[in-house]
Amino acid sequence: MSTHETTEVPDGAKAVDPTDPNLTYREVLEEGLRRDEIEIVHYEPQFPVPGTKAEKRVERLVAFLLLLCGLAAIAFVVIYVSPLGQPEEYHFGSNNWDWFTPLLGFTLGLSLFGIGMAILVYGKKLLPHEIAVQQRHNDPSSPDDRALAAGTLGFIGSEFNIQRRPLIKGALGLGGLGLGAAAVVVPVGMLLKDPHKGDPGGHDPYMTTGWNPEAFNNGKPVRMVREDHTPVRPEDVSTGGQMTVFPDVPGGTTNEHADSPVLLIHLRDEDAQTLRDNLHKYPVNAMDGGSMWNNFVAYSKICTHAGCPASLYEQQTNRLLCPCHQSQFLITDNAKPIFGPAARRLPMLAIGVDDEGFLVARRDFDVSVGPAYWERPSK
């Protein structure tokens, strides 16, 4: 903008030649400011009389802060290389290593605090205080400039003259479209995965869990195991007790089968009776004679809300609480959601006992486990 370079001086002030070697720094600065439309309207040294006690005090403070910075930094390095940082092993409970990280943080923080305050005090207390005023220019470009830019663009457009070349226009559209499509198709296509196409056996992953005999166990019912792969007998769960069990298939206890964990509950007689009476309310659970085995019932642990393990079992009220958003399921009523955001029951797993007396899943879940989705079968 040409206004910035103007050398004409208003108000009769003398034009200043910044290359004049006799000028002081201040005079040159002010000439620069004038050209940038800045004016220092107030300029006040912090200590008009140099060398006062007050000024010395501030100087000492800055020096002290810098010293603090250096000392703390040295302490940091010393602690860092000290044996504190390299024990053989870590246990719970207090040991020397517990001091290592806090000391590092403290010394580093102190050191940075020192330099930060030193800079701040130097700037705020020793450098002159000023009030400067700079003009803004709120108007847009001048009509001339706008017209010139518009005309230039117009001319460039006319140089292409695409309007007069319908063939190129059409081809360009098509080419652009094609390239654009390619640019989308490639990354999306690379990621894209059909959600319902599973293993070669054609099992829909959203409908199949580790309890599926056909998919994972050569058609034999899958045993229930603990996390350490030991199978479970009914006697292992005391009345009123519960246990998290996994399918006894390869990787069944790992995140490989993240939708398979099941909560096995041994109900008290009266609760079991209540549940049996309620089975018909949710027909899926009553299929071929009911999914319970004696007083045992197994529900999917995967919350139907967003998939957290619904794992807090309240014996007194027979409620299962999901800690993520506090949905509560009533065990004695087919795990019906009775509070919170979950809208669907926890699926029940049909269980039984095999010839060796171990608990098994008679078949996979009859419904899709876990959170809902658009095309989820409503069964």
Binding site: D36, V133, E227, S378
Partner: protein
């Protein structure tokens, strides 16, 4: 020999000339050195965000040298004994190594986490400052929109980072994220399976999130922050109204040296706070949570604080599942779709449109460089308070189980309080804020008209009492002050703001000086003459 000796005194000048001959920088340099910046504490909020971002880049780059996002299982044999021999992913194991076996790794890890929390907090408070002072108005709408994008990017970046160590909390967070993705109508399962490379958790999600966290989002953040700050430079910062300050000037200090020193010092202080927190306050002790297992979660598992408002909205949502059939097929929209996909959508689009909505409502096309005091725009301020209170109810609900546990309140009562509060509190906040803003304005006007209260009560001959005011303007012939115009800026309300003496006794909470004892009765005439000088 002598002739070749370098003239040290001429060296800087010679170098400067050499540089200018090549890059022609003398004039832009002068412009930057002299640029005037207005100063106010509330303008530093954006800086806190910027500085914590720099700390994030520094600490994050260090950690990237040691972290391994692979989800392949290994047996842990590092030096943290309680977990030795356990199966876990490389990601979790390398996070443990970073905490225990890399010297000083834990400080850096914790600094990174604290910096992330501070980053988002600073962004949010900064955004409030921009909103309540109207700094988003023309010509700064673009920066407002960029700012909102920055907020959501910071949110995603934080979430991605939180997921990386593959501890119990990361996994739980990711699992909920799948639940949210699955709820998107029509494409939910496709999106989820594509991102996870199959069913949750699959084998690739951490590798993908790693690239997102250390490359993609930081790159975009860096680019947008650069544009954001360049725009502040070009458009010049807003300033508060006040003596000599107009819509077409900037009153402040030159960029160099004092303003820059303040910035540099402030950066060091922010850095210092993060370093001290990183050392002294434990955060995300992943070794206590254990590796992620789909069947395990502990009560009171919390996301990072900035995710809590969405956790809260999810908790408060009633169990509404929409099912309907199209062409004989049953379809459904799960309830979680509304609080976690639709709500954030609204929270993005509505604020983005706000500058334009407001300008349109006020038929306002002018340029605004003066910030507004919240009280001077009661409607906007009240709307803002409404939004803030909505946000706070959600935030509190995100930790309602912790509150219920600590204060022995029923969890269900907390949820219901949140549901009702979400509907009742924001309108109430609107009403109250509106009244407060008008009240403050009114008081300013009174002071301008009648003057400052002096605390002096005068008794008139007829027995009535009047309070004496110190007029701010010259008085007319009848002794009445002229009424001063309202200029949307601070009005002095205390006598010592007008140069009257400050309180005689120092000390804020309790006096530092002993108050003067009650005086003895005046000495007789003669003595008095002796003592007075």
């Amino acid at each position: 020999m002598k002739r070749r000796k370098v003239d040290l005194k001429a060296l800087p000048g010679a170098t400067a000339n050499a540089v200018d001959e090549r890059f022609k920088v003398a004039r832009p340099l002068r412009g930057i050195l002299n640029k005037v910046f207005p100063d106010h504490w509330s303008f530093l909020l954006g800086e806190i965000a910027l500085f914590s971002f720099i700390v994030l880049l520094l600490t994050g780059t260090f950690m990237a040298l040691f972290f391994d996002p692979s989800m392949t299982e290994v047996k842990y044999d590092g030096s943290y004994t309680p977990l030795r021999g356990q199966e876990m992913s490389h990601a979790y194991a390398s996070s443990l190594d970073l905490s225990f076996d890399v010297r000083g790794g834990l400080v850096v890890r914790q600094m990174h986490h604290w910096a992330a929390l501070l980053f988002v907090a600073a962004i949010i408070v900064h955004m409030f400052r921009i909103f309540f002072t109207g700094a988003y108005r023309k010509p700064r709408e673009t920066n407002w929109i960029i700012g909102l994008l920055l907020f959501w990017l910071a949110f995603l970046e934080g979430f991605a980072g939180y997921s990386l160590p593959d501890d119990a909390l990361s996994g739980t967070g990711l699992r909920i994220a799948t639940g949210i993705m699955l709820s998107i109508p029509v494409i939910g399962t496709w999106v989820t399976s594509s991102l996870f490379g199959g069913e949750f958790p699959g084998h690739v999600i951490l590798d993908r999130l790693y690239i997102v966290h250390v490359f993609l989002i930081p790159l975009v953040l860096l680019a947008l922050i650069t544009i954001h700050i360049t725009l502040v430079f070009i458009q010049k910062h807003t300033q508060w109204p006040g003596p000599g300050r107009t819509n077409s000037n900037v009153v402040g200090e030159r960029f160099f040296p004092r303003y820059v020193m303040k910035q540099a010092g402030f950066f060091m202080l922010v850095f210092a706070v993060i370093a001290a927190m990183g050392g002294l306050f434990q955060i995300n002790p992943i070794w206590l949570f254990g590796p992620y297992r789909a069947a395990v979660v502990s009560a009171g598992s919390q996301p990072d604080w900035y995710v809590m408002f969405l956790d809260g909205s999810t908790r408060l949502m009633p169990a509404w599942e929409l099912t309907f059939s199209i062409a004989g097929h049953q379809y459904m929209i799960p309830g979680i779709f509304w609080p976690t996909v639709v709500l954030p959508g609204i929270l993005t689009v509505l604020p983005m449109a706000w500058p334009f909505i407001e300008a349109r409502k006020n038929k306002d096309k002018s340029i605004h460089n003066l910030a507004q005091r919240p009280r001077d725009v009661p409607q906007r301020t009240a709307l803002g308070a409404m939004a803030v209170s909505f946000y706070i109810v959600l935030l509190i609900s995100g930790g309602n189980d912790i509150i219920a546990d600590k204060f022995h309140i029923s969890l269900n009562a907390m949820t219901w309080a949140g549901r009702i509060g979400l509907l009742v509190i924001p309108p109430l906040a609107y009403y109250i804020t509106h009244r407060i803003a008008l009240g403050l304005q009114q008081h300013d006007r009174e002071v301008l008209a009648h003057g400052v209260e002096t605390g002096i009560i005068k008794r008139l001959p007829n027995g009535a009492f009047v309070e004496i005011h110190q007029p701010l303007a010259p008085v007319d012939d009848h002794g009445h002050p002229e009424e001063l115009p309202y200029v949307n800026w601070t009005v002095p309300k205390k006598m010592n703001r007008l140069g009257a003496l400050g309180p005689a006794i120092r000390g804020f909470f309790k006096p530092i000086e002993v108050p003067v004892k009650p005086q003895l009765p005046p000495a007789p005439e003669k003595e008095r003459e002796k003592t007075s000088v």
